[in-house]
């Protein structure tokens, strides 16, 4: 006889919305300005934000409803309307990889349609629009090349290659997630004042067909050359002369400046490793050190900021979760009262029951409304606090730039100590040969070779120095840039968050005050 609940207590969309509308539909809609959470901010519509950059100036911060739009309408500090680059990523398609047809059918991969609208002169002037198809591998290439060319800059970090999730998720979900991530990444690149003008990005966006960018400037064959010569180089001593000649032949001076790649110059890697160990554990200080105190201070401060920010980000996540829980429980309470109302109304024998049923109905209505408000509040809160997560992503880019600087410094240090050791060897040889009457032909030859090696190394060092300075400059300008942006971003985030919270709290207060009024007959203060 006690047929237990037909409806499960958890919130299923259809059924409970039906029940909710049961109570709410005859109330006058008190939320005419009810912001639909997925309305104009749909992530799927690519044309919302950068269409008319100056329009944000009209947004007034009185109504909290508009504040969800705050950060989306923020335009980059410098660019004027005549200088925009808008990218969208759409239309993922599955394609066959015909090259690897060992297995009949081959492997499949997804490509994405990258549409660009810009008025850069490099792209063909105002109003130009074009599209290409790229796969994720191309994005990796782009990212790697940018990292090589723009060392020292805070280059936005590309999306991950593949997570465990991708195995677990449905293919569709994963592809969609990747599409969104790619769009975010490319847009971030487009926002960066230096990178948006880069050749690599232009090629990626414009060049039809296969991406005309080499994977890295590291050519595979170099590895072979380097490896063959390695045994002799490692032997030292007799091999030094040959090594010096070989080194001179195989080393491209510009590439000295680049970080050592595993594929080539194993020797160089060993040397730099030795140097870094000597830096950390050796007794003597390296010849060249980081001198820029201002930089060190800024860096420390930034690291501290990052640490605190991580904590805040974690707490923000918890906060959102608990707000969510609150909303859910409030909704469940409302539903329980809806059922009670229905029950009492159906079974009413006494007038007092009908009165109670009416009271419960009011409570249910209020609770369900409040629950909805919590849900909306949360959607908005997530958007605002997302800035925190974004910023942590930026910190990754910053850390990369700082490590570019350290590795450039290490190269300089290595070359300096190499020079120093070459000089000292020449000295020793000259001293030794001067003691022999008539000179020492073999030793003199060695000195000549060493002098040649010194010349090469000095040139390399000049390159390395130049690179180091370049990177330092990049670091500096980037730090200034993000300093300003950071301040603006966070202030707007805080304001959005606060206005949001206040606005929804006011709406909830209105709901509860209405209920208090409806039940005011029971108030102890009256009667």
């Amino acid at each position: 006889m006690m047929n237990h609940e037909q409806q499960p207590p958890i919130l299923h969309a259809s059924q409970d919305d039906g029940m909710e509308s049961l109570i709410l539909n005859d109330d006058d809609d008190s939320f005419p300005d009810h912001p639909h959470p997925l309305g104009p901010q749909s992530p799927n519509s690519p044309f919302n934000s950068f269409l008319d950059p100056p329009s944000y100036a009209d947004a007034v911060f009185t109504s909290f409803d508009s504040n969800g739009h705050d950060q989306i309408l923020r335009t980059p500090a410098a660019p004027s309307p005549s200088d925009y680059l808008h990218i969208s990523v759409t239309d993922p398609l599955k394609e066959q990889d015909l090259a690897t047809s060992l297995v009949p059918g081959g492997t499949t991969f997804y490509t994405y349609l990258i549409t660009t609208r810009s008025n850069f002169p490099e792209f063909g002037g105002p109003g130009s629009e074009f599209a290409v198809r790229r796969r994720f591998r191309d994005v990796v290439t782009l990212s790697d090349r940018l990292s090589e060319t723009y060392r020292g800059y805070f280059i936005p970090v590309r999306p991950d290659k593949s997570t465990v999730e991708s195995q677990v998720m449905q293919k569709q979900e994963f592809v969609e997630q990747r599409r969104v991530a790619l769009e975010k990444y490319l847009r971030k690149l487009a926002l960066h004042p230096v990178i948006r003008k880069s050749e690599e990005l232009r090629l990626f966006l414009e060049a039809k067909g296969k991406l005309p960018l080499a994977k890295t400037t590291d050519v595979a064959s170099r590895m072979l050359d380097g490896a063959v010569k390695l045994p002799r180089q490692l032997l030292g001593g007799e091999g030094v002369a040959a090594a010096a000649a070989a080194a001179a032949a195989s080393v491209d001076l510009n590439e000295v400046a680049q970080p050592a790649r595993v594929g080539r110059d194993l020797l160089r890697i060993f040397k730099e490793l030795k140097q870094s160990v000597a830096n950390d554990w050796g007794g003597s200080k390296p010849l060249v050190v980081e001198k820029d105190k201002e930089f060190m201070e800024k860096k420390d401060k930034l690291m501290e900021f990052e640490q605190h920010l991580t904590t805040v980000s974690q707490q923000a996540e918890s906060l959102v979760k608990f707000q969510q829980d609150m909303g859910e429980t409030m909704g469940e309470l409302g539903l329980a009262f809806v059922k009670l109302t229905k029950f009492e109304t159906e079974e009413a024998l006494f007038e007092s029951q009908r009165v109670r049923a009416a009271d419960m109905r009011n409570v249910a209505t209020a609770a369900v409304k409040a629950s909805r408000l919590y849900r909306e509040l949360n959607t908005q809160t997530i958007k605002h606090l997302d800035k925190l997560h974004e910023y942590l992503g930026t910190m990754l880019a910053v850390n990369n730039a700082f490590s570019d600087r350290s590795s450039a410094l290490l190269t300089v240090q290595t070359l300096s100590s190499e020079l120093a050791s070459l000089h000292s060897r020449i000295e020793k040889l000259e001293v030794a040969s001067s003691k022999i009457f008539g000179g020492d032909k073999s030793r003199m030859r060695k000195v000549e070779d060493l002098k040649e090696a010194i010349r090469v190394t000095e040139n390399a060092k000049v390159c390395a120095d130049r690179e180091y300075e370049r990177i330092k400059e990049n670091n500096k300008s980037e730090l200034e840039r993000i300093e300003k942006e950071r301040h603006d971003d966070f202030i707007s985030m805080l304001r959005g968050f606060v206005v949001n919270q206040a606005g929804y709290a006011e709406k909830m207060a209105a709901v509860w005050e209405k209920l208090a009024e409806e039940t005011s007959a029971y108030s102890r203060d009256s009667s």
């Binding site: 608990f322 329980a336 009271d359 009011n362």
Partner: protein, 448 residues
């Protein structure tokens, strides 16, 4: 502690003795304290006297007419006594009345939870048909922790329990109630210990249970499978209503309890968030840092408000719901009693019929057992009539009670809903104010 109380009690009794002499005058002076309309305003009275008691002032602006009889009780001042497993809470029960059977205008006694249980059990035995007010559950686990909140919830529930009895027009006449409110502690202890033990049932109860089982078995043996039940369709509806109601209410109460928890969780989370943001602000230092610090501080303030509201929600919304559930369970017990009474009536009627047939038979054959049989028959008849009367009383009382119950519950719930709404509105407004107050500071930061 008890000594002090004893002194107080003896002082109070001396005073009341003196006052008894000048009773009429004193009543007129005291009556303004207790505005107690014994019917609909019952709960209002309860809350109000709690307020006056706690605020220390003892005068209410409204006073009932001097000749109106009143009985009001308050359960206050919980004190933890004893150690470890034997620890218990004792309460001060203060009775103020002008009933003639009661000692003086005021009497204070010390009682513990099991005393209240005793009272309830006695009333349940004696006043079948009346919905005895519910008592807070026994809880073996929480007892050990005895948190302040648990103690307060229990005290409030016990206070409401006694006051409901005191304002029920029949129950307030009970001798057991008088004993409970007036007897010395030793008397109470003695009475209480008679009820304790695993076998709480008295021998007569055990006999009854045995008889019930016996009759059930014989029913099955004789092929009468269905136990005897009333076939009153209206009553069936009412029973169905009560059982369904319990389910619905239990669900609402469950969610109300969860809501309390959510408030606490959100409060804690806001506090942690505030601390983290403050640290961030401190490390920044500049205007942005200040903005962060302010945000952090507001978060912490709001966290405290959330915790406070959680407590209010528990006491003024969740507890009344729980009380409602208990009341419904109490009605279920009364329903069971009615079923028992009905069965008994039926059984006795049947047995009586058999005895009548037997008596006629014996009269016919002029047996010498006739006298004995007549005697037995008369006894049985009396018993049967008694059982019928009992049953009919229960039916009549229940019909009265159900109407009263519905009215009472509408009032109780109305108050609870109102408090709920007020509390939530208060909280929401604090939140809105706190955040709004931050805005000018943020504006100042951004313009710099």
């Amino acid at each position: 502690m008890t000594m002090v109380d004893r002194c107080l009690v003896s002082w109070a009794s001396t005073l009341t003795l003196f006052l008894l002499i000048s009773q009429p005058l004193f009543i007129i002076l005291l009556l303004p304290l207790w505005r107690c309309n014994l019917h609909v305003d019952n709960n209002l009275c309860v809350m109000e006297q709690q307020r006056t008691l706690s605020s220390g002032s003892s005068l209410s602006p409204r006073s009932p007419s001097p000749s109106q009889p009143f009985l009001s009780v308050s359960v206050t001042d919980p004190v933890k006594l004893g150690n470890g497993v034997q620890a218990y809470i004792s309460y001060r029960v203060i009775t103020k009345t002008n009933f003639p059977e009661y000692q003086g205008p005021e009497k204070i006694v010390i009682r513990r939870y099991s005393d209240f249980v005793w009272l309830r059990d006695r009333l349940f035995e004696k006043y079948k048909g009346i919905f005895i007010p519910p008592i807070p559950e026994k809880s073996a686990v929480e007892k050990f922790r005895f948190s302040a909140e648990f103690i307060e919830m229990r005290r409030q529930a016990l206070d409401i329990f006694v006051n409901r009895i005191a304002s029920h027009h029949e129950l307030q006449q009970s001798d057991d109630l008088r004993t409970f409110l007036q007897a010395e502690e030793e008397t109470m202890e003695r009475l209480r210990s008679q009820e304790t033990g695993i076998f709480k049932k008295k021998p007569s109860d055990l006999m009854q249970i045995f008889k019930d089982v016996q009759s059930k078995v014989s029913d099955v043996v004789l092929g009468k499978e269905k136990p005897v039940e009333e076939c009153d369709p209206e009553y069936e509806k009412m029973k169905h209503y009560i059982f369904e109601l319990e389910n619905h209410l239990a669900e609402a109460q469950k969610h109300a309890y969860r809501l309390v928890k959510r408030h606490r969780e959100l409060g804690q989370s806001l506090s942690d968030f505030g601390k983290a943001v403050k640290l961030l602000g401190a490390s920044e230092g500049n205007a942005l840092g200040k903005a962060f610090s302010e945000l952090g501080m507001k978060s912490e303030i709001l966290s405290a408000k959330l915790q406070k509201e959680a407590h209010q929600l528990l006491m003024n919304f969740e507890e009344p719901l729980k009380d409602y559930v208990r009341a419904v369970q109490s009605i279920k017990a009364t329903i069971a009693e009615r079923a028992n009474a009905f069965r008994r009536q039926c059984e006795l009627a049947e047995t009586m019929k058999l005895k009548e047939i037997n008596l006629d038979k014996l009269t016919l054959i002029r047996s010498d057992k006739v006298v004995e049989a007549e005697h037995e028959y008369k006894e049985l008849k009396a018993e049967s009539e008694q059982a019928t009367k009992t049953f009919e009383t229960i039916v009549k009382l229940m019909n009265e009670e159900i109407g009263r119950f519905q009215e009472q519950k509408t009032l109780d719930m109305g108050i609870a809903f109102h408090e709920f709404a007020k509390g939530q509105a208060r909280l929401a407004n604090s939140i809105a104010d706190a955040w709004r107050s931050l805005l000018p500071k943020l504006e100042a930061c951004s313009s710099s």
